[in-house]
């Protein structure tokens, strides 16, 4: 059966290490290998970084909710198990243009987060709401490799 874990945290960057540890354990238990687990943790970290930097404008005392959900084969596409992350905040709405990532030809700092999320996860959806933002990230086992070259 599906199961889930909900983390409620304040938007403080110092908590990211704690979240990464919990998520890596969760993702490994679902059955992803080490390389996939590392990449998936990075994708969620980038989503949280976006919330702190953009939705909350670097305010470190705002609420973020992260739901980690294991997807059973019956509830996932193509019969593969996987994971789904739902990240919710009460901050400013995101600019949809910035959620498409940027071309990587130009070497410059910044703007890599969304590119990494899209590169790693099978799907990434953003839904603005009356109270804030919701991001839904999903990855199934055995789909596209997390790390390329």
């Amino acid at each position: 059966m599906d199961y889930s874990l909900k983390l409620e945290l304040s938007s403080h960057p110092q908590l990211m290490g704690v979240v990464r540890s919990a998520v890596e354990r969760f993702v490994s238990d679902v059955g992803f290998d080490q390389a996939d687990a590392r990449a998936i943790v990075l994708a969620l970290d980038e989503a949280l970084t976006n919330v702190i930097r953009h939705a909350y404008d670097n305010r470190y005392d705002r609420p973020i909710a992260v739901t980690l959900r294991r997807l059973e084969p019956a509830n996932a596409v193509n019969g593969a198990s996987g994971i789904e992350f739902i990240v919710e905040d009460h901050g400013m709405s995101a600019d949809p243009a910035k959620l498409r990532g940027r071309p990587l030809e130009e070497v410059r700092p910044g703007g890599l987060g969304v590119h990494l999320i899209c590169e790693i996860m099978d799907s990434f959806r953003y839904e603005p709401s009356a109270t804030g933002n919701k991001m839904i990230l999903r990855k199934l086992r055995g789909q596209k490799p997390s790390t390329g070259g």
Partner: protein, 112 residues
């Protein structure tokens, strides 16, 4: 995360141990820019052996160091990339942009 610098000839070696993420990438950026801009080190070599995790804000600090070094005609070199750090630079399509060596000896010997 712990970050410190030491000298080896004309090279400034920046040793980093721990994760480089949103919380501590500003400190990495500060040390890099200090070495390149203020101390005018002709070569800044980053020891990433002890870095098990780096996110896009950490990568952005490295990119900024690289860009500043190019402006100042100095060198910005990385060595000791963990699997995780290499994967992030590959996913960012930046691995070939940096000068990367396996270990400190090779990094120091490069372009002397």
């Amino acid at each position: 995360m712990h970050i410190s610098t030491r000298q080896s000839g004309d090279a400034t070696i920046v040793d980093v141990v721990g994760d480089i993420d949103l919380y501590n990438s500003p400190e990495v950026r500060k040390i890099l820019l200090e070495s390149l801009k203020e101390k005018r080190a002709p070569r800044v070599i980053m020891n990433l052996k002890g870095v098990k995790y780096i996110d896009s804000s950490g990568v952005a600090s490295l990119v900024e160091g690289l860009k500043v070094s190019r402006t100042l005609n100095s060198r910005f070199i990385l060595f000791g990339l963990s699997t995780a750090a290499r994967e992030v630079l590959e996913l960012s399509r930046l691995i070939k942009v940096f000068e990367v060596y396996a270990n400190e000896e090779e990094a120091l010997a490069a372009g002397v």
